[in-house]
């Protein structure tokens, strides 16, 4: 207990010696945590949205006008031979007409004079949950296009590809901001502690002559790095939470954001980010201790 009271006494002294650099470091660590966790939050939400979209994904094969007898069984066999699917639904011209009519609702009278056969026969294919990879969907689509009787294959290709690119871009930003977090945490903490050690060089020398133990001299420095991590990640995550609340409040109910149903990071991810920041900042102080503290 007495050890900790001395440690905190030393910490107070260190803070008084270089409070500007301490504040700057805290600010930098907080900002790095905020930037990283913000992009991670976006990425996590994009992933969740991607999974939801994948669940609703279906490929529609529009068929030639004439569908010979036995076509459905043969078509189904060829599809399942290439790749197992969750479900295949054949939609006749009449069913397609009825669906369109239902979708138009009160405006369905515009179809009154039209022959139901103006819509083509189609097949709706629901791929299994693992068939989410864009390349595989594209391969599957290309295969379906080659089947006899298939006229056109549609699955919102453009939208899915754009979404995929966006997710990839966010992934790159997450990695870059993660690297930023690592660099700033380790280097800023290490640099600040180096400044602390240099400003206290005379005192450390005297402590050494007085017989101060390694733990007495190194303890406060190590804890200083840990506290930078603790406060930095706490401020960063708190800021992220308020930013999340602001975005949710500001954009809720609007189309794009509504589609994604944004949610905050799960506790497990928060713990991992906090732990990582603590390890990085403590690591920064260990680097400084090893390089600049001679006891």
């Amino acid at each position: 207990m007495r050890y900790f009271s001395f440690i905190f006494g030393q910490l107070r002294r260190n803070f008084r010696h270089g409070w500007t650099s301490q504040i700057m470091t805290l600010f930098t660590v907080s900002l790095s945590v905020l930037i990283f966790s913000f992009f991670f939050l976006v990425y996590a939400n994009m992933q969740a949205a991607s999974a939801r979209l994948g669940d609703e994904l279906r490929l529609i094969v529009f068929l030639d006008e004439a569908v010979p007898p036995g076509f459905q069984e043969e078509f189904q066999r060829k599809i399942t031979n290439f790749n197992p699917v969750d479900r295949i639904v054949f939609v006749s011209q009449e069913e397609a007409f009825a669906r369109l009519s239902e979708r138009l609702g009160p405006d369905s009278d515009v179809l009154a004079d039209l022959d139901p056969s103006f819509l083509p026969h189609s097949v709706e294919i629901y791929p299994p949950k693992d068939l989410k990879n864009l390349t595989r969907i594209k391969q599957f689509s290309d295969y379906l296009q080659t089947l006899p009787g298939a006229q056109k294959v549609q699955y919102g290709q453009e939208w899915i590809e754009r979404f995929g690119y966006f997710v990839n871009l966010i992934q790159v930003i997450v990695v870059l901001s993660g690297a930023l977090l690592i660099l700033t945490s380790v280097f800023m903490v290490s640099y600040t502690i180096r400044l602390t050690l240099e400003s206290r060089q005379e005192e450390l020398e005297i402590l050494r002559f007085l017989g101060a133990t390694d733990s007495y001299i190194r303890g406060p420095v190590l804890i200083e790095g840990f506290l930078h991590g603790l406060f930095g990640v706490s401020f960063g995550m708190t800021s992220l939470y308020f930013l999340y609340q602001w975005i949710k409040g500001r954009f809720s109910g609007q189309g794009f954001i509504n589609l994604f149903e944004i949610s905050f990071l799960p506790q497990q991810d928060i713990m991992v980010i906090m732990l990582t920041a603590l390890i990085l900042c403590t690591g920064g102080s260990i680097i400084s201790i090893r390089r600049y503290l001679r006891v």
Binding site: F6, L207, G211
Partner: protein, 239 residues
């Protein structure tokens, strides 16, 4: 061999055996020096400037290592001690440096308390001891004064107070009265005497002849790195 008298191991606090110290490139600061100081003894080291007094003190507080020879403190060969053992031993050795080595921006209280804090003494004990020392050295009114606002004489007494704070088993003082008037010197000597009475061993490097004569203690003279004479005013030694 059997005719050589040496004090029982438990009685010698400091034992220096044929110690030499050479600074690069080839400056011989101490040459084959041997000395035994018993527990509770007070020894004056005298000699002209550059004779090797400070070097001897530095060897005794591990600021320097001997080039040759053996130094035993409290029965332990210091060259065999581990880092943590040296740290523990340093906590038992008080050193009053010639250049004081105080923290200029810290108060008198903080400077003295530092020596006790490294031993994790309780704040209550620290406060009691620091105030007691300041009263004994005539600095009671300077408790909260930063060290850089003190006169040299006051700084010297603070340095001495810090060295005495832990009631060390060995106290090394380098010119402890160099900046003091006779009355302040007397206060310092009273403090040293009270420490020796409670079992501390004290080695004082000094030029102050008046101090030596008044104390009537053992005197060792160093000249050109050699212990040339031992004036046994009141020998504590090997009987």
């Amino acid at each position: 061999m059997s005719n050589e008298q040496s004090p029982p191991e438990s009685q010698a606090m400091v034992e220096i055996v044929k110690v030499s110290k050479t600074y690069p490139p080839d400056v011989l600061a101490l040459d084959n020096v041997s000395l035994v100081v018993n527990r509770g003894g007070l020894v004056f080291l005298t000699g002209v400037s550059g004779a090797g007094k400070t070097t001897l003190l530095k060897l005794l507080c591990f600021l320097e290592l001997p080039t040759k020879g053996v130094i035993e403190i409290d029965g332990r060969d210091v060259s065999t001690l581990s880092k943590s053992q040296i740290q523990m031993l340093r906590q038992q050795i008080g050193v009053a440096y010639q250049d004081f080595r105080l923290l200029p921006r810290q108060t008198v209280y903080q400077n003295i308390a530092l020596a006790m804090e490294v031993r994790y003494e309780s704040p209550k004990v620290v406060k009691k001891r620091v105030l007691e020392l300041l009263a004994k050295l005539g600095l009671a009114d300077k408790v909260h004064t930063p060290a850089n606002k003190l006169s040299r004489g006051e700084q010297q007494r603070v340095s001495i107070a810090r060295a005495c704070a832990n009631k060390p088993s060995l106290l090394l003082a380098d010119e402890p009265t160099g900046n003091l008037d006779p009355s302040a010197s007397a206060l310092v000597m009273d403090l040293f005497n009270s420490l020796t009475e409670s079992g501390s061993t004290i080695i004082i490097a000094t030029h102050d002849e008046a101090l030596i004569k008044e104390s009537g203690q053992r005197v060792v003279n160093i000249e050109q790195g050699r212990l040339q004479e031992i004036l046994q005013v009141k020998f504590e030694g090997f009987d």
